[in-house]
């Protein structure tokens, strides 16, 4: 009975202690996990504050200084420093230093450590850390910082009866394969064996600082490039303005005497100064054509000059495009027949509405299309059409001429563009007509297009103008000026 009783007591005692032991274990486990959570929370809080700095400040030096200040305040290191790789001097430069200790802050403020450059070619400890991409432990701060600064720190530590800040942890800052710089943590205690929390925190902040600095650097570079582009753009605009003004003055200077020249040639041809011989008539004919070509060239140059300076105003009226085209073809028939080319106007089957246009300028475009067709057609014919398509009037010139390649078509309406092989047919032309034509038609809210099946297969030039009264059409009396859009200039 006694033995049974003793066993029973022991059993009761086992049952009594087990819950307490279990509770102890639970408590300790909970404590441990809670402690981890608190540590992680602190890390997150620091990372959050560093992230806020990186988002609110884009200037690299200020941003890194504020980051160094946050790390120094929250992690309890005696000094935090950030050095950055400078591409201009191919060296490391200290750009941020911070300390929670007042006497260290004074030393930092007075020292010229931020002006010191460490050439990449040197074998100094910071350069070794940058190149090896590995963490470096140093127990003598003179290996890391400039000698003068280290000695000032040492002197101040002795004055304030503080242990020497000799222990330094050097961590490379990297983004992808680029070496950005170093994060340096200094303390009077040994930094060789860090707690798990410290290690995790340092890994986190290195990543964040590297990314933040990389982004800030890109932003700064972009700002610098933008400023350079703006300066270059201004210079180009000034040059362009000077060129336009020169163009205008030069054209006027040439235009007046040429007009007089042509006038007198005409008078000679008409016999105002006596009958000419056949030979003289032939010579005068050549002179007249040459003078006319020069006058056309100068007119085009003047138009461009006016367009580029925003002075080519349109005189808008309701116009019969069909009649304009018919009259123009009649005027140019002699030119076509001289080259033994057929030139025919195809009237539309239906009655065509009017368009609101500057008649002089649109006639200039039509003339340009037909004239070009005559120039670039060695044999065959040219057909001129006027049709209606939806809310637009289409003026079309088709020829059996030398054609245009796909590549040339894309550049045809650019300034000074000419189709290749033009010299083969001894064609005149400055390459300005189509460029001016495009500007004029565009200002009328229309469009121009060139099409061709290729070299030797003829071409088609089309001008589209909105019908009067439609949504796109200009209005009679409305003010319109032909200008160059920046993207086309």
């Amino acid at each position: 009975m006694a033995r049974a009783g003793s066993a029973a007591t022991k059993g009761v005692q086992s049952i009594a202690t087990t819950p307490k032991q279990l509770m102890d274990r639970i408590n300790r486990e909970l404590y441990k996990r809670n402690a981890e959570l608190i540590a992680r929370n602190k890390t997150l809080a620091l990372l959050r504050s560093l992230d806020e700095v990186s988002l609110s400040i884009t200037e690299t030096v200020t941003m890194t200084q504020r980051m160094a200040d946050a790390i120094a305040a929250q992690l309890g290191y005696d000094m935090v420093a950030i050095a950055i790789f400078d591409e201009k001097c191919v060296c490391l430069r200290w750009i941020a230093l911070s300390s929670p200790l007042e006497w260290v802050s004074s030393v930092i403020k007075d020292a010229k450590v931020k002006n010191v450059e460490i050439p990449l070619s040197s074998n100094a400890a910071p350069i070794r850390a940058l190149n090896t991409k590995e963490t470096l432990f140093v127990e003598n701060s003179e290996e890391i910082f400039p000698e003068e600064f280290s000695q000032q720190l040492m002197k101040a530590a002795l004055e304030h009866k503080h242990p020497l800040i000799q222990n330094t942890l050097v961590q490379p800052l990297r983004y992808s394969d680029s070496a950005l710089g170093l994060l340096v943590l200094s303390s009077s205690r040994s930094l060789k064996h860090l707690s798990k929390y410290e290690e995790e925190t340092i890994v986190g902040i290195i990543g964040l600082i590297s990314l933040a600095y990389y982004k800030a650097k890109i932003y700064e570079d972009l700002q610098e490039t933008s400023a350079q582009l703006a300066a270059a753009n201004k210079q180009l605009k000034d040059l362009d303005k000077a060129k336009s003004e020169f163009l205008s003055i030069a054209s006027h200077q040439l235009y007046t005497p040429l007009t007089a020249l042509r006038g007198y040639i005409s008078m000679l041809q008409e016999g105002d100064f006596g009958q000419m011989t056949d030979q003289q008539k032939s010579i005068l004919d050549i002179l007249s054509k040459s003078a006319l070509r020069l006058i056309e060239l100068i007119k085009n140059l003047l138009d461009i000059s006016r367009i580029e300076s925003g002075r080519l105003e349109l005189n808008l009226e309701s116009a019969d495009i069909v009649n304009m085209a018919r009259e123009l073809v009649q005027d140019l028939l002699p030119n076509a027949h001289t080259k033994k080319l057929g030139l025919e106007f195809h009237a539309p089957a239906e009655t065509m509405p009017h368009a609101v246009v500057d008649q002089q300028r649109v006639r200039q475009v039509m003339l340009n299309f037909i004239d070009n067709a005559i120039k670039y057609t060695p044999s065959g014919r040219i057909d001129v059409f006027v049709e209606k398509e939806g809310d637009e009037i289409i003026f079309r010139v088709t020829d059996t001429g030398k054609g245009i390649t796909e590549e040339e078509v894309t550049k045809l309406f650019n300034k000074f563009a000419r189709v290749g092989g033009a010299s083969r047919f001894h064609t005149e032309g400055t390459g300005l007509g189509l460029y001016v034509a495009k500007q004029i038609v565009t200002e009328h809210r229309g469009d121009v297009k060139a099409q061709s099946l290729g070299t030797g297969k003829g071409s088609t030039f089309t001008m589209k103008i909105p019908v009067e009264g439609t949504a796109k059409s200009l209005k009679v009396g409305e003010k319109a000026t032909v200008v160059i859009k920046a993207a086309e200039a």
Partner: protein, 92 residues
């Protein structure tokens, strides 16, 4: 004496972050510590090395080795300002 008070205060504050007001209640039980729970003030009296050791042991008794690590982390940055012979082994 100020740095020693600071060490004690940091340990208790760090424990408070994990276990709450219980940290102050446990500190009150340590001989050599005068604790005002209401104002959360603490003054160290007597042998500081002994008192620090007792405080850390008090927590370790309840929550095991993890709590000792917490105490060490709490004062790590301040230890360099204390003469080595005055730092208890439990905090080194």
């Amino acid at each position: 004496m100020d740095i020693k008070n600071e060490l004690v205060r940091k340990i208790i504050k760090e424990q408070e972050a994990i276990i709450g007001p219980l940290a102050w209640e446990q500190a009150e039980k340590v001989t050599g510590l005068r604790v005002n729970i209401a104002t959360k003030e603490v003054t160290l009296e007597g042998d500081s090395k002994q008192v620090l050791e007792s405080l850390v042991t008090q927590y370790e008794h309840l929550f095991g080795p993890a709590s000792r690590e917490v105490c060490r982390d709490a004062v790590r940055s301040l230890l360099s300002q204390v003469p080595p012979e005055e730092i208890p082994a439990i905090l080194k």
